[in-house]
């Protein structure tokens, strides 16, 4: 455990737009959080967390599946969708059923959505395209794919440009396959931090809950701030946030466990995942097994 002080504990935040509804209240001081916020890319946060340089952080669902035994999930918090998500899409020149053996390019930026797509290809579409990962920083159509997986701003742009006639929203497709929400990210705490400093963790957790409640009550402010940052219309941001969901209720947990079970069954995760949820300051933790 590092030395305590003003710079401790540390809370990792993904510097993407989808974290704004949770973090805007914290960063503008509307809700006080007893932690130092560290914003960075997911890969950097994952590494820092595993090296003990962050006490609490957001992680992608797949990343948590890979080091679940090192971390506790914070209850009630996620980034999820139930049905359409808008920002995780497969776009194609031909119907997805005809993609067998044809080049499909994968985003280099999100392992969770790549695994989600591979589950859907196997279980829902039953086709085996020729998958390749385009290099980071390359244009979307690098390698002239027949279809491509895009996330975030790139997804929103490629759909708007309309050059690929077939668009599959993977949040909606996941719901078709499983009937459940898709959880893209979780908030996790280090086990040593949770056991040694339960009150500090409770403080952070409560602040995150309060920040989420603040976000729910200020949709106009979030839309305005998001629109200013991205230089787009507030309506566009409003729609984007409206399909996202920041809760972690039973349906979300079922969706998450289904994701882990299918990922493991398809060989995309090495082990079944046991989800362990922090039970608060006084209670034991809850353990949920994916398979």
């Amino acid at each position: 455990m590092p030395e305590m002080g003003m710079e401790w504990p540390r809370l990792g935040r993904v510097s993407y737009l989808n974290c704004l509804p949770l973090f805007y209240a914290l960063e503008t001081g509307q809700v006080k959080v007893p932690a130092k916020i560290v914003a960075d890319h997911p890969a950097v946060l994952n590494k820092a967390f595993r090296q003990g340089e962050l006490e609490v952080t957001a992680v992608s669902s797949l990343a948590y599946g890979q080091f679940a035994e090192e971390a506790l999930v914070l209850p009630g918090l996620s980034i999820a969708c139930h049905g359409r998500v808008g920002s995780v899409v497969l776009v194609s020149r031909v119907p997805v059923a005809e993609l067998g053996g044809r080049p499909l390019s994968l985003t280099p930026y999100s392992a969770t959505s790549v695994v989600l797509l591979r589950i859907l290809l196997q279980r829902l579409y039953r086709v085996a395209p020729d998958l390749f990962i385009r290099p980071a920083g390359s244009p979307l159509d690098w390698g002239q794919p027949e279809a491509l997986l895009a996330i975030g701003d790139e997804a929103l742009q490629v759909v708007r440009a309309g050059r690929y006639p077939f668009v599959y929203d993977l949040g909606e497709e996941w719901r078709q396959l499983t009937g459940k929400p898709m959880v893209f990210a979780l908030w996790v705490a280090r086990r040593d931090f949770a056991s040694m400093y339960p009150e500090e963790l409770a403080g952070i957790w409560q602040a995150l809950q309060a920040a989420r409640a603040w976000g729910k009550r200020h949709p106009g402010t979030l839309a305005a701030v998001g629109a200013q940052r991205l230089g787009v219309e507030p309506e566009f941001i409003e729609d984007y946030f409206a399909v996202l969901n920041y809760d972690l209720d039973w349906p979300h947990l079922e969706g998450l466990l289904t994701f882990y079970r299918l990922a493991h069954a398809e060989g995309l995760l090495l082990h079944p995942v046991a989800l362990e949820i922090w039970g608060g300051e006084d209670e034991g933790n809850y353990r949920l097994q994916s398979a």
């Binding site: 949709p219 402010t221 701030v225 507030p234 309506e235």
Partner: protein
């Protein structure tokens, strides 16, 4: 069951959502009216009915929102579209002051070319010339300005307040349930955003009213959900001065349908007086219901006669055609057995009149 709920009301206890639903289903008109009148007398034992002398100024009828229940708006580019000049607005304010008015209610369409600066300039100009309360711009207009300027709602309100805006009317609430809103006014401010604007205004110390337009195809549960949403916010901020329900006016609108009758109006009014235990005042809407039902409403929970509405164009465009001047309002209030009193926007008594 209804007796148990009635006892709670008489004991001054708060009703839950389900109790209110039950009461509405089981109690008849006079039972609801009796309970509401008891609540009203407890809150306002002095036998006064207040009103404000104000003028509605609809600064523009150009609107991009195209709500299906609105007969007033014209789309941008329409030959009948207008924006009032500063001189025209000034003349209307002078006429209001001459008639003993204290307040201006400016509301208009969502004009794509009128930005925050236009309102800031107009409000400071008005405040530098005329001693009036600016009770203006509904949450829908504030939300539209926040979108156009890409500014947080609180910042828009702060700037308008600095320019002279005193309080907000509660327009555009219709029914605060998105299922209903998406059907009748899909482009209009969502429930969460309407509440966000009011919360932000109250946080700046601005007061506001809350309204409800019923008869838009909603269920009774959705009407109570509306009351619940504003009751919760009132618990949090205490910023609402009054609640004003009225029935949808179907004339000249796309939505068509039947207008709710007097009986339904009185039942909803009574239920709102009973349910909104943290709202000091309930206003009648004589413009939509007529002065005779408005008089009756004073025995179903209402304690305020609203405003003289020296000019009202929006409900008039939908075919509601009740007119009354101040003398007529005084006569109505007296004839119902109450003492009229002119108030200001925050319900301070300005001038008390003799009872009838």
């Amino acid at each position: 069951m209804k007796e148990t709920i009635a006892c709670k009301v008489l004991d001054g206890e708060r009703l839950s959502f389900h109790e209110a639903e039950r009461l509405y289903q089981e109690a008849d008109l006079l039972e609801l009216g009796y309970l509401a009148n008891q609540v009203r007398q407890k809150l306002h034992p002095e036998g006064t009915v207040t009103f404000v002398v104000d003028r509605n100024i609809n600064y523009t009828n150009i609107c991009v929102n195209a709500c299906r229940f609105c007969a007033f708006y014209r789309p941008p580019g329409h030959p009948e579209g207008y924006v009032l000049s500063r001189e025209e607005i000034g003349r209307k304010i002078e006429a209001t002051l001459a008639a003993g008015g204290t307040q201006i209610l400016m509301q208009g369409g969502l004009h794509p070319e009128l930005g925050l600066a236009w309102f800031e300039d107009l409000f400071s100009w008005i405040k530098s010339r005329y001693p009036v309360t600016l009770h203006s711009l509904s949450p829908v207009e504030i939300d539209d300005l926040a979108r156009k300027e890409r500014l947080p709602v609180a910042e828009v309100l702060q700037r308008l307040q600095k320019a002279g805006l005193d309080s907000l009317p509660g327009g555009g609430a219709e029914i605060l349930v998105d299922r209903v809103r998406n059907r009748v006014s899909p482009k209009k401010t969502s429930t969460a955003r309407w509440l966000e604007v009011m919360r932000a205004a109250h946080a700046l110390g601005m007061k506001s009213t809350a309204t409800m337009v019923f008869g838009l195809g909603e269920t009774i549960g959705e009407r109570i959900a509306h009351l619940e949403a504003i009751r919760q916010l009132q618990d949090e901020t205490g910023g609402f001065t009054a609640f004003i329900p009225w029935s949808f006016q179907p004339g000249n609108t796309d939505l068509g349908g039947e207008e709710a009758g007097a009986c339904e109006y009185l039942r909803i009014l009574a239920l709102s007086r009973i349910y909104l235990d943290n709202f000091p005042n309930i206003q009648v809407s004589w413009v939509t219901q007529g002065t005779k039902i408005a008089q009756t409403a004073l025995f179903f929970g209402a304690n305020d006669f609203g405003s003289t509405m020296l000019e009202e164009n929006v409900v008039r465009a939908a075919g509601a055609s009740f007119h009354a001047d101040q003398e007529e309002l005084l006569r109505c209030i007296r004839a119902a057995g109450f003492r009229p009193a002119q108030r200001d926007n925050e319900y301070h008594i300005w001038r008390s009149f003799q009872a009838g």
